[in-house]
Structures are given as structure tokens and as C-alpha cells.
């Protein structure tokens, strides 16, 4: 056919090469990265419509090795090593969801999500509303986020507020291995699209992981109970918040540390209950203060719990700057001392 210009053919991608996978059957000590890997494996075993898409997620297992062995165990039809294009990773996931699939997209680094931003905000988030419930978007978008790893620009960001501001999305952030496993399974099983933020600098921290799903991903959990100050955090900063509670206890201040887990919707029932008890609130996140989640939570709690507050709530966050060079990130990131400084402020000690 003269008018049909035919290009060269493309080679096929490799498929199954490993024996059938076995799921996590008993409590084990796993890193956060391995816990996500186990959660993905279980989700793929549970539902043949779960497919993974992302850059380098096949033979390499992702740049953080979170998808290790999944290509060999499930084959190239379910573990799709994609060309390097984030908008297409999300956009093709939309099409797969249209056909009843449950795509799990890996965005390689937080700062690389923006080429896919339009598909997430304009398409993924809106389809269910647009079609009055006819078309569901059970898409999970995995995003390693946050700093503290001495990385180059675009590799340390905390873009969660862009997504908590977007109606139609659920946003969660995990802080430990058990939640990493349980919440990736819950996210994939959700009929709503979920942004799943992974605490990049804690990928290699180990913890006990039981095969059970545990608390709903919508629930905030009290990491350590206290009576004087409510300290909210999520992701990598939860462990710093816990350290702050231990340090403050030495000074006689009792901090209740809450791991938010769900950033949209926020479990306000849990936060309100804690603030009614303590009367003081500190929110800490790595993302910039302006327009961030801390401001939103403090506004809501002020509306709902004003008469319970003993002092003005405080944010301890990254500054309103682009993520700085690695040699400056220790100044930018909230750390133990800055969180304790925030605690001192709500306690009226400064």
C-alpha cells in the first residue's frame, strides 16, 4: 500500500521468568521498601486487574527497588516498564481504569510528578464526578517524597498539598513498614484514586510487618499518647516527632504524637479528640508553610475547637523556598530541635 508508510517493528518485552510468587504469610521484619513490595505482590495476587506502570520498574525493580522481582513473577503484561513520560503513565492508567483495571503508577521521584500533574488533576481526580459515578478511577499513584537524602534538585520535594487541594483524590502518606504494607493494599483496593506518598529517607528502616490490613487508611493513629500537646505529622517526620515526644518528656511535657496517615481526607475526628484533650496543637511537615496542609488543619481545628485551645497552634515546616541544595537542607527540614521549639511556643515557654 503506497500511502501507508510502514515503520520498523519493535521488539517484544520479556515476560514471566520466575516461579509463582508466594505472599507474606506471617509477621516478618521488613524494610519499608520491602513492605511495599510485599503489599504490591499481595494486591497483584488478590486481583488480576492490578497492573503496575512506571519507569524502570521491571528488570531493575525501580530506582528504589520497590518493585523487585514483580516483573519476573507476574510478567510484562502486568508489570509495564514504560517509556519515560509521566503524563502518559497517568493517562494510560486512566484508559486502563476505563476498562476495569486497577493500575498502580510509580512516579520515580516527587519532583517528577508535575509532567503528569494535568492528567492527575484534570482527569484522574474528576472522572467519577464528571460521569456521575459511571466511570471509576481506582488508580494508585506511588510517589517517593521528602528530603534528607542529599539529592539533586527535584528529588526531595513534598508536593502533597497540590493533591490534598484537589477534590476527587485521596492522599495518604506512610511512616513505617507495617503501614507501608497495609496501606498500599488498601489504596489499590480503593475505588477512588489514591496518591500514596512513600517516606523516601526511611525506605531502609526496618519494622515488624503482619499480613493483616490493620487500621483503615482513613484513620489517623496515635503513635504515642500524651496530655499537654498534640503533635501532628506524617511520612518521614513521624519518627522525628516521636523523638521529640521522648525529649520533651524529660522536661515534663507530655506530647501526643499523631501519625495522620490520611492527608485527604484528614481524620478530623481523631485530631479534634486529641486537641480537646491537650488544648495545644503543633503540625509539622517538610512541605512549605504557605498553602500547606498544616495551615488547613490548624484552620479547621480552630473553627471546631476554638474554645478548647490554650494557645495559638503552631506550624513547624519547611520554609517557603524551592527545595534548597543538599548542603542547606538540614536548615530547611524540620528536625528535633525545631519541633521542640514549636512545642515550647504552644506551651508558652517562648
Amino acid at each position: 500500500m503506497t500511502t501507508l508508510m510502514t515503520p520498523a517493528t519493535v521488539s517484544t518485552v520479556p515476560g514471566l521468568t520466575a516461579p509463582p510468587p508466594t505472599p507474606l504469610s506471617e509477621t516478618k521484619t521488613l524494610t519499608v521498601a520491602k513492605a511495599i513490595n510485599e503489599g504490591l505482590r499481595q494486591a497483584m495476587l488478590d486481583d488480576p486487574k492490578v497492573v503496575l506502570l512506571g519507569e524502570d520498574i521491571g528488570a531493575l525493580g525501580g530506582v528504589f527497588r520497590v518493585t523487585t522481582d514483580l516483573l519476573a513473577q507476574f510478567g510484562a503484561r502486568r508489570v509495564i516498564d514504560t517509556p519515560l513520560a509521566e503524563s502518559a503513565i497517568i493517562g494510560t492508567a486512566v484508559g486502563l481504569a476505563y476498562r476495569g483495571y486497577r493500575p498502580v503508577c510509580e512516579i520515580q521521584f516527587d519532583g517528577f510528578i508535575f509532567p503528569g500533574f494535568d492528567q492527575i488533576v484534570s482527569q484522574v481526580a474528576k472522572f467519577h464526578y464528571r460521569t456521575q459515578g459511571a466511570v471509576r478511577m481506582p488508580i494508585t499513584i506511588r510517589v517517593p517524597f521528602g528530603g534528607g537524602i542529599g539529592a539533586a534538585e527535584h528529588h526531595s520535594e513534598s508536593p502533597e498539598a497540590y493533591f490534598t487541594h484537589t477534590s476527587g483524590l485521596r492522599v495518604i502518606a506512610v511512616s513505617n513498614a507495617q503501614d507501608a504494607y497495609s496501606l498500599i493494599r488498601q489504596a489499590i483496593a480503593s475505588d477512588d484514586p489514591v496518591l500514596y506518598f512513600e517516606p523516601k529517607r526511611r525506605y531502609h528502616v526496618k519494622g515488624e510487618v503482619a499480613p493483616e490490613l490493620g487500621a483503615s487508611m482513613e484513620r489517623a493513629v496515635i503513635v504515642s499518647p500524651g496530655t499537654d500537646v498534640t503533635l501532628l505529622s506524617y511520612g518521614a517526620l513521624v519518627s522525628t516527632a516521636r523523638d521529640a515526644a521522648l525529649a520533651a518528656a524529660d522536661e515534663g511535657i507530655s506530647i501526643e504524637v499523631i501519625d495522620l496517615r490520611s492527608l485527604s481526607p484528614v481524620d478530623y475526628a481523631a485530631v479534634e479528640a486529641s486537641v480537646r484533650k491537650t488544648g495545644r496543637l503543633v503540625v509539622t511537615h517538610e512541605a512549605a508553610a504557605s498553602g500547606g496542609l498544616g495551615g488547613e488543619i490548624i484552620a479547621t481545628i480552630t473553627e471546631r475547637c476554638f474554645s478548647y485551645l490554650e494557645s495559638a497552634p503552631v506550624r513547624v515546616t519547611g520554609f517557603d523556598v524551592p527545595y534548597p541544595p543538599a548542603k542547606l537542607e538540614s536548615h530547611h527540614l524540620p528536625d528535633l530541635d525545631r519541633i521542640l521549639d514549636g512545642v515550647d511556643r504552644v506551651m508558652g515557654r517562648r
Partner: protein
């Protein structure tokens, strides 16, 4: 501009004469007189619907309308080549495609009246909701096609977009993905020469069809005002996709005879002589001439066709004007598939606010 591509494939001369074309002819050999007449009826009806919708906008019944005037052959010819199980991912101008797929005429204007963000359930007609973000739907089509391969069915995705969309990254990314995975998807570009006020030369320094082979996707450049060429090309592309041949790109060269939307004013940027020239290539006129040659056009046929078109227009008008406004609290519906406490609280608060005006007040009309 270098015109490096072949001239658009034409099976029908401007005079309505059937032009032989050995590589395309077999694909439309089955189109006898009645089949051609059915295509003509479709084109007359969709033009009438389009005209009525424009009038409804002018009368304040629609907020906006994107006319398809001049693109009837491109849309009807391609849509009628599809199987029911194929899936369409359109832009917002493919109202003739929606009509051919069985979307109710009233549902076509629902979005433009502001009653909904989607006029129909995509799964009932296998037509996605029209994409307003330019080019975004090409990725959805590609993803759907990847799903079809995984489901081991031979259904095909077809995505419609314009010449303007070919500048969007999403369209390029869709072609990269479709080629890499040999996805059964047809990229159907209606080059209607204008992206609002930007002529196609702003989007493309060479013919748009030339781009696809660079991605590894075969392309066809056809006369988009020739319904036979459109149907043949679409069938060729669908057959390739169905039989594992992967994606095909079709550039249907046509012309937007009207404005971009009813909010646009082409007299500010377009030479009237250009429009006059394209009127001689009117897709309906050409098919009418062929049907006349074939003896299919009689006064009775003309009258019946016009009556069918007028009935569709009347149905559209009545359905549009009679469309009830959505309930105020439905603003909260379907944001999520699963319950959301934050949103439920807003719904409850707003419901309380509305009822605070008392039962005699109409909710949502303010104080």
C-alpha cells in the same frame, strides 16, 4: 511550507464522481446505494442538529456550542466504520460521532447547557466523555487499548483530536506509548485548519501525517470531506489494529466552516475567500452528487431526509428546553466512589443552610 506528503487520498471528486483507487477500493466495495444514502442521511441530520444547537445557544438555551459544520464526512465516515465494542475517546467537537454511536440528541447538549459535566454514561455507547483538555484523551485511548490486549479481545480504541492538539505533549506521548506497546488504537486527527484563530501552519511546518512514521506509526492522509475515503481509511486502520498490527494515524484534511465555538468570531482572523473555497468542497454536496449519479436521490428521499433531520432538531430543542435543572445538593454527588467525611460535613452544613431560609423559599436562589 514544504508539502512532502502525498496529496490527500480521494475516492470522490468534487463533482461526486467515484475515483478508482486500488488500495482503498476494496474497503468500501460493500457500500451500495442504500448504504451511501444512510451515510448521507446521517450527515444531513448531524448538520441539522448542529445548526439547531447553534440557534439554541444564540437564544440563550445553551451556554456554548462547538459547531462541527464542514466536518460531517470525517466524523460520520469514521464513526460508521466502528464496531459496537470499539471505544471512542473524543474531543468536544465529535458530536456527529456521538450521534452515530447512539447518544440521545438531548444528551449531546447536556454539557453545553451546564446541566452536567458528561451527557451520557460512556459504557452505554462506548464513547468516553468528550475531553476538553486538548489531547488528553489520546492517552486514555492508548491505555484502553493496552487493556484490550490484556483482555485478549480484538476491540479497538479510536481517539479524535484536531490539528491544534498535535502540538500537545500528551498526543506525542500517546504515540510513543502506542508504538512501543503496539497498542490497537487509531489516532484520528481532523485537520480542520484552525485551532481557534491559529492556522494549521502554526502547529505544523510539514503535513501532520508526516509525524507519525517518526514514532513508528504508519499514517494515512485523506480528504476528510470525502466520506468514502474516510470510511476506507478508518477500516484499514481498524483492521490493522484488530489483527495485531498496532496503531495507525489518520490525518483527515477537512475544514471548520464555522467558528471554533459560538463565542468565537472567525471574521477577525480568517479570509472569507478561504471559506468560500472550502464551501465548494462541502462534504454533503459531494455525496449528494454521487447519490444523484447513482439515481438514489428522489424528491421523496429528499423530503424524508429533511423530515428526519427536522424531527431530530425538534427533539433536541424540546429536550434541551425541558431539561430540569440539577438538584442543588447534587453538587456534592459522586466526587468520590466511597464516603468522605470532610465532604459529607460540607453537604450537611449546606443542606442546613438552604433549609434555614424556610420551606417557602426556593433552595439555592439566595436571599
Amino acid at each position: 511550507m514544504i508539502d512532502s506528503s502525498p496529496q490527500p487520498v480521494q475516492l470522490l471528486s468534487l463533482d461526486g464522481e467515484r475515483m478508482p483507487r486500488p488500495d482503498f477500493d476494496p474497503w468500501v466495495a460493500d457500500l451500495d446505494g442504500p448504504a451511501l444514502l444512510a451515510l448521507y442521511r446521517d450527515m444531513v441530520v448531524v448538520r441539522r442538529i448542529d445548526t439547531e444547537a447553534t440557534a439554541l445557544q444564540r437564544q440563550g438555551e445553551l451556554g456554548l456550542w462547538p459547531p462541527l459544520l464542514g466536518q460531517e464526512a470525517a466524523q460520520v465516515g469514521s464513526a460508521r466504520a466502528l464496531r459496537d465494542d470499539d471505544f471512542v475517546f473524543p474531543s468536544y467537537r465529535e458530536n456527529a460521532v456521538a450521534y452515530c454511536r447512539g447518544v440521545e440528541v438531548t444528551d449531546i447538549v447536556k454539557v453545553w447547557r451546564g446541566n452536567a459535566q458528561s451527557g451520557w454514561d460512556p459504557y452505554t455507547v462506548n464513547v468516553a466523555t468528550p475531553a476538553i483538555i486538548i489531547g488528553a484523551q489520546t492517552l486514555h485511548a492508548t491505555g484502553w487499548a493496552l487493556g484490550a490486549v490484556r483482555d485478549e479481545v480484538d476491540s479497538v480504541a479510536i481517539t479524535y483530536f484536531g490539528d491544534g492538539a498535535t502540538s500537545q505533549g500528551d498526543v506525542h506521548e500517546a504515540m510513543v506509548f502506542a508504538a512501543s506497546f503496539q497498542a490497537p488504537v487509531v489516532f484520528f486527527c481532523q485537520n480542520n485548519h484552525w485551532a481557534i484563530s491559529e492556522p494549521v501552519g502554526v502547529q505544523a511546518h510539514r503535513n501532520i501525517a508526516d509525524r507519525a512514521p517518526g514514532f513508528g506509526i504508519p499514517s494515512l492522509r485523506i480528504d476528510g470531506n470525502d466520506v468514502l475515503a474516510v470510511m476506507a481509511a478508518t477500516r484499514i486502520a481498524l483492521d490493522r489494529a484488530r489483527t495485531g498490527g498496532g496503531p495507525t494515524f489518520i490525518e483527515a484534511v477537512t475544514y471548520r466552516m464555522g467558528p471554533h465555538t459560538t463565542a468565537d468570531d472567525p471574521t477577525r482572523y480568517r479570509d472569507p475567500a478561504e471559506l468560500a473555497e472550502w464551501k465548494t468542497r462541502d462534504p454533503l454536496l459531494r455525496l449528494h452528487r454521487l447519490l444523484t449519479r447513482l439515481g438514489e436521490i428522489t424528491p421523496e428521499v429528499e423530503a424524508a431526509t429533511q423530515a428526519q433531520a427536522d424531527a431530530a432538531a425538534a427533539e433536541l430543542r424540546a429536550g434541551c428546553i425541558g431539561m430540569p435543572d440539577p438538584e442543588p445538593l447534587s453538587v456534592f454527588d459522586h466526587v468520590y466512589a466511597t464516603p468522605n467525611a470532610t465532604l459529607e460535613r460540607q453537604r450537611t452544613d449546606y443542606a442546613g443552610y438552604l433549609t434555614s431560609f424556610g420551606s417557602s423559599d426556593q433552595p439555592g436562589e439566595g436571599r
